[in-house]
Each structure stands twice: as structure tokens, then as C-alpha cells.
Amino acid sequence: MTIEVLMPALSPTMEEGTLARWLVKEGDEVKSGDVIAEIETDKATMEVEAVEEGIVARLLVEEGSEGVKVNAPIAILKEEGESDEAVKSAAKSSGSGKTQDSAEGEDNSKDDEDDSDEEDSKDSGDDENGSGSSDKDKSKAKSSSSSLKDPEIPEDAKMVSTTVRDALRDAMAEEMRRDERVFVMGEEVAEYEGAYKVTRGLLKEFGPKRVVDTPITEHGFAGVGVGAAFAGLKPVVEFMTFNFAMQAIDQIINSAAKTLYMSGGQMGCPIVFRGPNSAASRVGAQHSQDYSAWYANVPGLKVIAPYDAADAKGLLKAAIRDPNPVVFLEHELIYGESFDVPDVDDWVLPIGKAKIRREGTDCTITAHSRMVGFALQAAEKLAEEGIECEVIDLRTLRPLDTETVVESVKKTNRIVCAEEGWGRMGVGAEIAAVVTAEAFDYLDAPPARVHQADVPLPYAANLEKLALPGVDDIIKAVKAVTYAE
């Protein structure tokens, strides 16, 4: 019986990679545990081991092939004395030729300049994770988001397609060049270049004094960062994810957020806590929490949760310059997405200003971070049915730009508040309260909320999908408040 060797996944969100090197050739005998190939992503090179014994009958993917899909057969082993006929039929049935073609096809269409294979895979990983929306919807969403230009962007600015990941890195690098006091610290930020590669290249440019690898010590290094900020430095503290920042939340809130007040204005704390927040992909309850509402509850903090790359860059730069502690919530599942970023000298956005990403007359949808993309997709679909939604990207959760939201509701008379986190005491609850208080007479329906199911995020693919809010949930909520169904 022949055995297929499949392309392995290196991480929960990886969907494809490069087959860098074969270490065996056809006809070689291998036993279980022998290294047969090396595969690469932007993060790492990893060895592929044979899991069974046999003879390498066929190598199905050429050395150096990029974009090889996870689980695609890459080789066929046969048992001693097995006929070539069996191998041939196995190769045929595995559809290997087709896999290879499509991999190459993707390769050609790829416009990513920084060979980050895994990032691309993360893009497409969205589908698995959230809304059940198709790629087609996503491309639509992007075009619609760029159709409504940010008034901050100069008319003649050249736009450069950049991933959110690189936009964040560029923001840090630019601010580090500008201000000697700015430094980055966290787990794996320097030599490993970031667990999610957000700090790629920083160590090389700025050296170990300003790009500091810490031990796995969230509580401790958050406190060290806050102390350094009290002393006048401007730390950018990366949490590998905000789930781990729960270990450090005492320092973030009790020390960073409250000390200015408790000191009668003496002890400013110019620090940025940043990292991916909320759900990733199939990583279970302890690695998937959305902390938007937690931090946005705390006076003394500013809380930013950008969606696209231009906002990520402009707002992170603003956060680093801000004299106050800023919690900067990123999203792993949009790190790899590319958006236009204006190629201007110093792209800094004001903190505390929401952005209307799509204008509409029938219903307002508020969202932040990754949910903005879903809101835009929902709006497109609803437009096909004649319901025109106004999509507001909150961008900053504290201070919250309630004026933009309230003005929009006065126009649309309806609102759906979408967020990825739990609904109870959430961002949507706050917005619903504000709108009810400030635009009560304009409302034609009670405010509606879209949020995660009120359970710890499950691991099973189907349950995770059920728990996380997506495009369909937003559509349903809009139809409810517009009495379309």
C-alpha cells in the first residue's frame, strides 16, 4: 500500500508554505523519523519527518515551490516490493498535479513583497474563523473601504499597499528614529523578530538596547516598562497576545493608568501596551479573548483598536507620541491583510476620532478592529437588497467618539453595534446607552448588538464558528432594526 506524505502546518493559521528542500530522492529508503524535507514560512524553517517506513516512490512537489497548501500530498512512499502501477494510481488519485498547479498559480498572483507566505495564509484563514463569508466578499469589502477616503489623507498622496503587520512595524521604526527615548520590549521581539513578526527588522536597525527581549514575565516586564515610563522613557511593551496581559493587568491599570491622578499630575506614564487581541484561529478559550471593553472601562488609559493598515500606522505613531498610557489592541487575523497606506512624510492620526467608512441612510453599524471588515461586507450585501448602511469604524474606544455615532444615528434612526467580544457590559452596550441617552427621539428601533456568544470560546471548528459574530449576524441585526424581516 502506498503512503502519501502531506504538507504539514506550522501554526494554527498557516495554510501554505514553501517546500524549500528535499533531503531524499526517489528510490531512497526511509524509516519513521527520518528528515525528508525542509519547509519554510516567513517565521521559520521546519523539517518534515517521515512518519512511516518505505521507499520514496515519487516526489510530487519540486524543491523551491512556494504556496504549497497544507495537507497537499508532497511525496509518495511505497512499501518494499510494491509495484510502480500502485504508485501511479496513488499519485493520480491524490490529485497532486493539480495541487502543484494551483500553488504555482497563487505564486504568480502574489504581490506580497516580503515573502511572507504565512501572512497570506492568515488572510484566507479568516473564512475558517468567522463569518463564513467568501473571498469574493472580502475583496469587495476592501474596495468599498477604500472608496470612502480618509479626510486626513492629502489629495495628492501616493498610496502604498502594506500589510497591517508591516504598517505597525513602520510606525515603531519611524518613532524610534525620531525619538531616542522610544524602545520596544517584550517576549521574542528582538532576535526572533516577534512571535507574529511585527517587530521584524527592528533589532537590526536599533540594536539590543532599544529592542529588548524579556523573559516570559508579563507581570514583571509590564511593571518594568511602567517604571521606565515614570522615569521619562517611552516604552512600547509588546504582549505576545493580550490574553497574557491578564498577568500584567495590575500594572497596566493600578500603576500606569492611575498614577498620574494619584500624584496630582506629577507622574506621567508615556507607554504603549500593544499586541494581538481577541480571537485567532482555533486556539481555544484562553488564547482568544477580546479585552476591548475591559480596558475601555478604565479612566487614565487611552484604548485604540484599528482595522486597516493606514489606521494601524497612523494611530500607533500617535499612541507612541501620546504622553499617556495607551492600550493598542491589534488583531492577529488581520496582520497579514494588505491595505493602502499613504506614503507621506509623517502619517499620524488623531486619537479619539471614529471614521465613517461607508455612508448610508438606513442604519448605522459601529464596529472596531476586525469586525469593521465584516460590517463592510454586511453593508454591501444589504445594499443589494436596498438597505443602505453607514459603517462607523470606532478606531479608538477610549476616548470614544460618541459625536460621530450620535450624528449618524440622527440621520439613519437605527443602530447595530458590532464587536467581537462578549456582549455583557460591552462596547456595544456602552454605545447603545449613549445613543439612547443622546438620540432617543431619533431612534426608530431599539439599538441592537452583535457580539460573541456568552461562552468561553470553544475549540471545535463548528462551535467556534457558531460562537464568533460575523457578517450574517450583522445582516440579521440590521434587518431586525429596519424591520425588513
Binding site: 524602545f183 538596547k209 524579556t214 523573559p215 514575565t217 507581570h219 514583571g220 516586564f221 509590564a222 511593571g223 518594568v224 516598562g225 511602567v226 517604571g227 521606565a228 515610563a229 515614570f230 522615569a231 521619562g232 522613557l233 495590575d250 500594572q251 493600578n254 500603576s255 498614577t259 498620574l260 491622578y261 494619584m262 500624584s263 496630582g264 499630575g265 506629577q266 507622574m267 506621567g268 479612566p299 487614565g300 487611552k302 500617535a318 507620541r321 501620546d322 504622553p323 499617556n324 499620524v348 488623531p350 486619537i351
Partner: protein, 311 residues
């Protein structure tokens, strides 16, 4: 030391009169620690501590008026009445608090030292914490980083033998707290915290070590607080005899006084004069703390964020 003692006695009195509220942790009995250490620091070195902080502030050169007025929650206090006993700061005197969360100041102090190393400015941070805080996880996270990066910090463990009501013996598997740095390669030593000269000598050595770029140093100060953990603590976990033993035979001020007189550094008369001056300062601070107005209601919403253009 005497200023701290008299100040704290007065604070205790004002607390009893209802002028000081909330939690109020007195430093009486431990004065030699902060005075000895402060004498070994030089201008610009930073100090950070927990909530038993009045002594540290006075030693750092902050005024009795400003501290006492903060205790009464008045406008003339160091935090304009918004911090209280446990949360006072003076950037001018490089005193970084005054922290109410047990152990938090250890990471923060390590961060201050990180800034010193970053700037290569030769400053050392004196980070104080108690025997109770010595069991907090972040203390060891901080020890580890301080040694990895050889930060200029001295950790002063004020072992007054009781973490609130729990004795060191009951709470610590290793009661010699100066050994707590062993697994991080941080040198440590035990010091008689009731003897200001011993404290000074040990601190001098530790500060030199840190300033020379050799990294952190741990000093375990064996000391004793005469009063309860806070004003509301009846201190039933220890005997009257135990307290009296310290008060009568090991008091740091009596010891220093005797040494001054024996060595003829000052006469009885001069000391009396000094005591009178101190009494006056403390009395004035108590008056100031009562006459200074409460913060204006408009202060409620100030100092939450630094309001300035982010650009």
C-alpha cells in the same frame, strides 16, 4: 529619624481625631532603615516604596507640610489631596511613590533602574519592600530581569517580621530573605535595621556595587514596627512583651542618641534644641494640614490624562 518618629506620632493622633482617613501605615520603629539608606544615596538617585511610605518621603527631603496635608486630603498635599497616605510622589525629589499594591513597586523600581541603564546616567534606584511583598511573584520576575540586564537597583527588604498579621515564619519557607536572590545570582546580606550606622555601611556598599554596573543588590533589614500594620490593626498576633523588648532595648533612635552623646558628636543641649525644632516642624505640618483647603471640586476631573496635542 526623630522627625519621622514625631511626624508619625502626630499622624497617628490626627487619624484618631478623624482628620486622616482610609488606610494609614505608620513607620515608627523602622526609622533607621530609611535614614541609613538615604544617607548612602546621592542627588538624583531614585527612591520607590510601598504604602508604609511617610518615612521615605521625609528622608527623601519632601516637606512635612506637603506629606501631612496629603494625609488629610488637602490641596496643599503632594498629590493635591488625590493620592492619600499610600500614593504620594515628588518628581523633584525623585521619589516615585508610594504604591498601594504589595510588590508592584519592585517591578516599577526595576523599571526606573532600567531607565538609568538606558540613559547611562549613573543613577541608582533604591527599591524598598516588606517581608510580605517578598513573597509576590513579580518580585522574582524583577530580580531575574534586573540581573540579566545588570540594572543599577538596590532592593531593600524591610523585614519587620509581620506581613500584616502573618509572621515571616508562617509565610516564608526560607525566612532569611536576603537569600532570595541566590537563584538569580544577586548578592544579598542581612543587616541590623535598628542600627542606622550598620544600615548606612551596608547601603553604601550595595549602592557602589549597583553604580559600578555590577547589577542589583539585596539588603534584608531586620527591623520592627511598633504600631499595628495600619491604624485599624489591634496587633493581637504578637505579645506586648515582644513589642516592649524592641521599644526599650533596641530602639533605633535611642541607639543613635547614645552613640552621638558617647562619641561627643553633639551635646545633650544641642539634641534638645534639635528635638524642639522637630516638634515645631511637626506641629506646623499638623496645622497646615488642617488649614489647607480641600481640593476644589474642579480637581475631580483633572490629571486623569495629560491633555496636550499628541502630535
Amino acid at each position: 529619624m526623630l522627625l519621622i518618629r514625631r511626624f508619625e506620632e502626630k499622624a497617628g493622633q490626627l487619624y484618631g481625631m478623624g482628620l486622616i482617613a482610609g488606610f494609614c501605615h505608620l513607620y515608627i520603629g523602622q526609622e533607621a532603615v530609611v535614614v541609613g539608606v538615604q544617607s548612602a544615596l546621592r542627588e538624583g538617585d531614585q527612591v520607590i516604596t510601598g504604602y508604609r511610605d511617610h518615612g521615605h518621603m521625609l528622608a527623601a527631603g519632601m516637606t512635612a507640610n506637603g506629606v501631612m496635608a496629603e494625609l488629610t486630603g488637602r490641596e496643599g498635599g503632594y498629590s493635591r489631596g488625590k493620592g492619600g497616605s499610600m500614593h504620594m510622589f515628588s518628581r523633584e525629589k525623585q521619589f516615585f511613590g508610594g504604591h498601594g499594591i504589595v510588590g508592584a513597586q519592585v517591578s516599577l523600581g526595576t523599571g526606573l533602574a532600567f531607565a538609568n541603564a538606558y540613559r547611562e546616567d549613573g543613577k541608582v534606584c533604591a527599591t524598598y519592600f516588606g517581608d510580605g511583598a517578598a513573597n509576590q511573584g513579580q518580585v522574582y520576575e524583577s530580580f531575574n530581569m534586573a540581573k540579566i540586564w545588570n540594572l543599577p537597583v538596590i532592593y531593600i527588604i524591610e523585614n519587620n517580621q509581620y506581613a500584616m498579621g502573618t509572621s515571616v515564619k508562617r509565610s516564608s519557607s526560607e525566612t532569611h530573605l536576603y537569600k532570595r536572590g541566590v537563584s538569580f545570582n544577586i548578592p544579598g546580606e542581612e543587616v541590623d535595621g535598628m542600627d542606622v550606622n550598620a544600615v548606612y555601611e551596608a547601603a553604601k556598599k550595595a549602592v557602589e556595587h549597583a553604580r559600578a554596573g555590577k547589577g542589583p543588590y539585596i539588603l534584608e533589614m531586620k527591623t520592627y514596627r511598633y504600631r499595628g500594620h495600619s491604624m485599624s490593626d489591634p496587633a493581637k498576633y504578637r505579645t506586648r512583651d515582644e513589642v516592649n523588648e524592641y521599644r526599650e532595648h533596641k530602639d533605633p533612635i535611642d541607639l543613635a542618641r547614645k552613640r552621638i552623646l558617647d562619641g561627643k558628636y553633639a551635646t545633650e543641649e544641642q539634641l534638645k534644641e534639635m528635638e524642639k525644632e522637630i516638634k515645631k516642624i511637626v506641629q506646623e505640618s499638623a496645622e497646615f494640614a488642617q488649614s489647607s483647603p480641600e481640593p476644589d471640586p474642579s480637581e475631580l476631573y483633572t490629571d486623569v490624562l495629560i491633555e496636550e496635542a499628541a502630535r
